[in-house]
Structure formats: structure tokens, C-alpha cells
């Protein structure tokens, strides 16, 4: 067995072990990338929504990006991934 093969045999398990430790790092207890179900907002009673309520503001903020994405997707699919939210805001300001 060559020295290079031995090196691989020791380095690969060490790398896998290091990655598994990183996956359980307590400072990053993330469960995954579940997306907000913003379509549920459309079913809510809008007359009872208080726009000054921080809960409502947080939901709007969370879903704004996703709704913008959907709108862009239906109107200008070619710009969907090429334009950030900040760029879009700047563009709309410049348009006026």
C-alpha cells in the first residue's frame, strides 16, 4: 500500500468526522430551510388585520419578498433571479 493511499484512508474518515461534528454545532440549531407559507395570508380576513400590529408587520415583511418574487415571476420571469429587492426599490424610485 502506497503512502498516498494511506494518507487518503486516514484523511477521509477524519474529514467526515469533522463535518458530522459541525452539523451538530449547538450554536447553529437550524432545522432546515422551510419556506413561509405566504399563500395563507390571502385567505386571512383582511378587514380584521391591524397594520400597526408588529405581528402583522412581521408577516408582511416576511412575505413581501416571496410575493415580489411571485409578481416578478408572472410579469418578468427573466429578471426573477437577477435583481435583488434593494435594486428593485432603487429602480422604482428612479422611475419617478
Amino acid at each position: 500500500m502506497t503512502r498516498k493511499t494511506l494518507l487518503w484512508l486516514t484523511a477521509l474518515p477524519a474529514l467526515l468526522l469533522a463535518l458530522s461534528v459541525q452539523a451538530h454545532e449547538p450554536s447553529e440549531p437550524m432545522e432546515g430551510d422551510e419556506k413561509p407559507n405566504c399563500s395563507k395570508m390571502k385567505d386571512m380576513d383582511h378587514s380584521e388585520m391591524d397594520m400597526d400590529d408588529p405581528v402583522m408587520q412581521a408577516m408582511m415583511e416576511k412575505c413581501k419578498h416571496h410575493m415580489d418574487e411571485n409578481d416578478d415571476g408572472s410579469k418578468e420571469p427573466q429578471h426573477k433571479h437577477s435583481e435583488s429587492e434593494g435594486d428593485a426599490k432603487r429602480k422604482s424610485t428612479h422611475d419617478h
Partner: protein, 186 residues
């Protein structure tokens, strides 16, 4: 000058104390106490543990300054995602009445989706919650999150807990989902 009768009484008390300590140590070493989580505590033990916990947290959290900006959308979003990742398994979420942890832990972790009537005023409750999240509680399953989370991040969770009992399952899902755009939250 101490009378012989008083001296005799003191000796008796000391002897009783030594015997009580020896009996306590013998009981600990005997292995007779059931430590299984599925063996419920007696009401007296529950009372002693809860009183000890409440008094200790009350004293330790006294003097903690609650930030004035807890009721903001930014804090709700930041705290909600962390709550879902770190706390919901034990302390539940809207639409969920029990989990393996609530059934298996003893004492059972409090259901934070319910508004507890006996809780103190909002400021005091926030101080308690901040302290408990940061320092944890010994032998209860509640970890000390302060080791890897700074104070602001813990206050975000406290802010979310204030509004949690009012949230519907749909609102909870939207507020707590990290999604792709939250991947750089940390």
C-alpha cells in the same frame, strides 16, 4: 453559666442532627429513590421544586433591564425562527398539544403557547424568561442558551414569547420559517 439541663438538650439536638444526616446519606447510597422520569413526583416534591425554582429565578433576575423595543417586527422575526428551532419541541407551537418531550420529561416543560393566568406582570415575566433562556435550569432539561447566544438574540426570543399565545398556526408558520432568504440569519 450554662445549666447541665441545657447542655444535655444541646447534646441531644446535635446527636439528632448527626443521625438525620447519616440517614440521608444512607438513603442516597441505598439506591432506593426512583429516578425514572416516568415515575411521577409526589405533590410535596413538586411544590418544593417549583417553589425553589420560582424563588431562585425571581431573585436572580431582579435588576435585569428589559429593552423598550421588544414589541417590534424585527425582533419577532428573529426570535420566532430561533424559537421554532430551539424551543418548540418541548414548549410546543400553536395547533400542537403535546410532543415526545412534553410526555417524557418530568416535570413536563411549560406549554408556552398558553397564556398562564398566574404569571406576574409583563416586565417581570420578561425578566424571568430572559434569565431562564440564558442560564437554563439544573436537572430539568432546560439548557443554558447563553453559552452560544448573545443577550440581544435571547431578548428576540423573549419578544416572540410575548406574542406566541395569540398566534394562529398559520401566523406561526410564516413568522418562524427561515426560508432561503433567512439562511444567513446567524
Amino acid at each position: 453559666m450554662v445549666s447541665p439541663r441545657l447542655m444535655s438538650c444541646i447534646k441531644c439536638l446535635i446527636a439528632a442532627l448527626v443521625i438525620a444526616i447519616a440517614a440521608g446519606v444512607a438513603f442516597i447510597y441505598s439506591g432506593l429513590y426512583p429516578v425514572g422520569a416516568d415515575d411521577r413526583h409526589t405533590p410535596l416534591t413538586y411544590w418544593a421544586l417549583e417553589t425553589l425554582r420560582e424563588r431562585s429565578v425571581d431573585r436572580a433576575s431582579d435588576g435585569i433591564e428589559v429593552p423598550a423595543d421588544l414589541d417590534t417586527s424585527e425582533r419577532l422575526l428573529a426570535g420566532g425562527a430561533d424559537y421554532n428551532d430551539m424551543c418548540a419541541g418541548c414548549h410546543l407551537k400553536p395547533g400542537k398539544a403535546e410532543s415526545d418531550f412534553t410526555l417524557g420529561l418530568n416535570p413536563a416543560p411549560p406549554n408556552l403557547t398558553k397564556q398562564h393566568q398566574s404569571e406576574d406582570d409583563l416586565e417581570s415575566q420578561s425578566r424571568h424568561r430572559f434569565w431562564v433562556i440564558k442560564h437554563g435550569i439544573k436537572a430539568s432539561g432546560m439548557p443554558a442558551w447563553g453559552a452560544h447566544h448573545d443577550d440581544e438574540r435571547i431578548w428576540d426570543m423573549v419578544a416572540f414569547l410575548r406574542r406566541l399565545p395569540e398566534l394562529s398556526p398559520e401566523q406561526y408558520q410564516i413568522l418562524t420559517a427561515r426560508g432561503d432568504d433567512d439562511a444567513n440569519h446567524h
